[in-house]
Amino acid sequence: MSQIFKPSTNTLARVSMFGAIFFLAILAWVLVTLNRSSLATRQGIVLQQPVPFSHDHHVAGLGISCLYCHTTVEESSFAGIPPSATCMNCHKLIWNESPMLEPVRESYRTGRPIEWTRVHDLPDFVYFDHSIHVAKGIGCASCHGRVDQMPLMYQAESLQMEWCLECHRAPEMFIRPRTEIYNMEWVSTDQETEGARLIADYRVQSKLSCSVCHR
């Protein structure tokens, strides 16, 4: 028998062995990262809307409360998207000729609703109820981010299950006084002790069982 391989093959063989392990590790890492990236979650991505509504302007600029438009957040699973008539309460009088607002006026005129693109979209097998979260001291900003700083709306958090569980496993780290629910700027000075007290006060029973959300 004579030599089949060159001396360099030895190095190649060892490198490729470690390389394969390295490659698999990288592949796993890439998949995991992709799965958590905004490519999969749409976190932080501004979606095209029929009207470029600015929460920044309306909330921070004009000081309109969340509840003015999202009227049902305290009583229903669904926070509510305002009907065109709500927009027209003000826009009958101001900016009533703005071309940007033409879809709103048209909807109001014709009764055909505006079709907004959904920004926060949980999968259909998840049952989420706004009212209980608001009632137990979870602020809007905890899940929706600093909406008052968003000229155009985007999803601030990943909305993946691990993100839900992060809070459900330790609600004291996220709870706030009920008076501060709609306060976008509220920051706790002592979350841990304050949170534990609120958990007791509001009798929060953070549920972890599957059937709470997957009914």
């Binding site: 030599q3 093959t9 062995m17």
Partner: protein
Amino acid sequence: MSKAATKPEFALMAEFRSSRELLHAIEQSQAAGYTQLEAYTPYPIEEVWEALGQHKSKLPLIVLIGGIVGAFTGYLLQYWVSVINYPVNVGGRPLHSWVSFIPVTFETTILFAAGAAVLGMFALNRLPMPYHPVFNVPRFALASRDRYFLAIGSWDPKYDRRATEEFLLGLDPFEVNEVAS
């Protein structure tokens, strides 16, 4: 027989027809003061590596470590998952239901130990090594059939191209070859 090499050779290698001849040659070489010896046989012969002074393999220790690591990995994974990260009450069983954790712990122990055995064996044997100077000898192909080879490394302090070849030829081999490096 060997040809003149431009590079310094790797070793000299004698081919024998039986394991008894090989063992005899090893004894003679060691008696002659050679220390850098290596024997090649078509099947495992305990006397050969004993003769070459290899009494204890490090492998059992590696396997033991692998097994212990596997056991801890398996058990701690289950403990962390079931008690710390994802505690679920299943029919009132304790979160740390160690009895239920035994099968998986056992399996990971075996898995890690077996992995350590195989990888350890390759590592100790410096494999993979598709290229090796001994393959330069055409008749070395018979090492995987029915011939027995003894090689004396050129880095042996007592090595001398001519004297060593003479010595090997004196052991009544089938033939002696120079192993080009």
